[in-house]
Amino acid sequence: MKMLLTGFDLLLALTLLWLAWQLLRSTDIFKAIIFFICFGLLMSLAWVRMHAPDVALAEAAIGTGLTGPLFLAALRRIERKAGKNMMSEPAGNGEETGSRWKARNREMSPLLWTVTALTCCLAGLLIWTVLIIPRPLPGLADQVAGSLAESGVNNPVTAVLLNFRGYDTLLEVMVLLLGAITVWSITHAPFPPRVPDTSPVQKAAVRLLLPLICLIGGYLVWQGAYQTGGAFQGGAVLSAALVLLLISDFLWLPGMRSLPLRLGLTLGPLVFVLLAGFGILVEKTLLRLPVEYAGPLLLFLEAACGLSIGLTLAAFFAGGRPASDLRETPYSGEAKGKGPAES
């Protein structure tokens, strides 16, 4: 049995490296993205092999489930504007940065040689260091197991994520919100002007799958407390539902008002901050939850975070702010209804 497993590991490792190498070599960006998606799926297989089911689920849901479509959407938006060839050289305002975007041909210029040599010796050094590191010290596994009881959940990863290192997760949820704000600040959501005729099959499939996906997402969020799952994985599945909506061009989507969206986006962090404040009031320490209420509180927190993560990842896919975001500006009257003209 052991031989079989190591054989499987070897095969998996080789395919991962081959896929990564293909990612670099392939001339066409679309092919590279497809390789990246396969790479992601195999990575989640590797996580399963390393006894890390949570990470496997997250890699599958977020690492490939969402990043793949993000890349494909970005590629379509870039190619739709720049004609069919690779990123055409933007006629930058004469600055030297403009020329560097031109696709350089693949011949090995001396600069390329030096970079390859440097990276190879870096790889050699790192691997040599890894090999000579003596028996790795025991990690924090026993501390986690020791105080798992008071953490209110019995899945160790969720316990570490939400209770022991809750401050990390709060900052991380803020990073997600920061990403959403940045995407909104850069441009308007580029909904295609004329709606392509989506096939009836797609509409039927979406109408059928949507409730099921939401149910599974909710189940994942709820299951986080006991086995693998949690806010991030559940949120990613929810975002899959929203992405399906965005793809099938339902007419009411571009006209969405921005306030409900903003409330949804900030729900998770707001609940987190309130919980932190609650910790200070009740237990006089930030983010410290009373042991008996820890379970339900964490579940409520996970639900809120799951929802806002779903919305944030969907906002990433939409790629911009809703048309109505700046419309309610009181003092620039003429800004009403100008939509993406300015962007």
Binding site: A205, L209, L212
Partner: protein, 100 residues
Amino acid sequence: MTIPEIIGLACIAAGIPFFLSGTIGMLRFPDIFTRLHALTKADNVGLGFLIIGLCLQTDDWFIVIKLVLIWVLVLTASSASCHLVARRALQKGIRPWTRE
């Protein structure tokens, strides 16, 4: 090794040739439509056998329900996406391969 587990293993073994034929079909067939055909048909049947084999191996009903749910979802997803890919191919003007 109890009886259900042996039958389960047999079912999984039965599923493998279908996956194999699907992959060979995908590599050998001339154009996109035939490849789609090969993939969706063969893989779904192979998956069915796989799911039955796995169901036999577990004794927890909840997992069986989840496995069946997975099978139903994969069926709908692969058929819908196969249709969409074919439709897009037709819109882009790829004519199916005819033997002349």
